[in-house]
Symmetry: C2
Subunit: 162 residues, 2 copies
DNA sequence: CTATTTGCAAACGATTTGCAAAACA
DNA sequence: TGTTTTGCAAATCGTTTGCAAATAG
């Protein structure tokens, strides 16, 4: 499952935000810097694609902790703005470290065959969303957008001819 | 709940696609036209917003059937292209009748307070998706896009000041 | 020492599945 | 009649929660 995304040598998150900087944010929120939390943040720091709770759990080595602890922490970290939650419609939430600076808002391009996930840093023109919002009188409008398709590698692979 | 979206006086689903036309498609796929199926399609036909399995189940009156039967049929109907599946990230799939003609592709604007759902008939420029696809060498790219915000009615309501 | 957090097990809600009986074609 | 479908119950899966023991500050 947790296939390290090779390819696309540039563009890529793998935020080397120091752990200390992250734990510092925890302290500010009167949250404790525990072993499981450091381990989770560390796993997230070294992964380029969003991970599911289960994947994070699997990625924890010696620092293993209960799955429930991960679920609880992901909520906490999300609330504190340390991680961002994504939903690719496959029934499992995924999380990425939320580096405020770059890539604040972004989407993903998911391969429907091998599940490889690429980051898409740009988005459609603001005016479109603004138009949708005003047209219906909505305020505080945000959106959820993800792309799905077949990646280059899978295009080469014969595989089942759907 | 089912408030007809104002503005854009035309465009409005509430597809009065005759049941016979729908059941005909079933026959073509060597699927049987059963009571539950007709009832489900009928419920979908008279609703403007996508419904969850549970909502469909609740909407069935005398024609009640098992929830599992609905789940199974939604898969079947989706596979046959009779309905379209949507995911608003709240853990429950929703379905709409898929009228091929108009509104083939569309998105939704969901109120995060009252859950009212409006249909958004337009989309961002094609070029954006084409660019995302070619940039990464993906083919057969599609997308999932939904908007979330506060509807006019809820804006008026005092409610908890988040 | 005291509030926060963890592990564990049970609880949940959405969805799926096995299987024998019932319903279409 | 032969195949598809249904009802029912049990099983799965992701996620949540209660509670007492462990831990950070």
């Amino acid at each position: 499952m947790s296939k390290p995304c090779s390819r696309h040598p540039h563009t890529h998150r793998l935020i080397q935000q120091p752990l200390t900087e992250l734990t510092e944010k925890l302290r500010q929120g009167s949250r404790k810097v525990t072993g499981p939390r450091q381990a989770i943040l560390d796993v997230l720091r070294r992964h380029a694609s969003p991970l599911t709770n289960k994947e994070i759990h699997a990625a924890l080595g010696k620092e293993d902790c209960d799955l429930a602890t991960i679920y609880r922490n992901m909520h906490t970290l999300e609330r504190m703005g340390l991680v961002r939650r994504y939903d690719f419609g496959d029934g499992a939430a995924r999380f990425e470290l939320a580096s405020e600076e770059e890539s604040a808002h972004h989407h993903h391009l998911v391969c429907t065959r091998c599940s490889m996930i690429l980051e898409v840093d740009d988005c459609f023109p603001e005016e479109f969303q603004a138009s949708v919002a005003s047209r219906h009188g909505f305020v505080g409008v945000s959106h959820r957008l993800e792309f799905f398709g077949i990646c280059p590698k899978c295009q080469a692979t014969p595989s089942a001819t759907a």
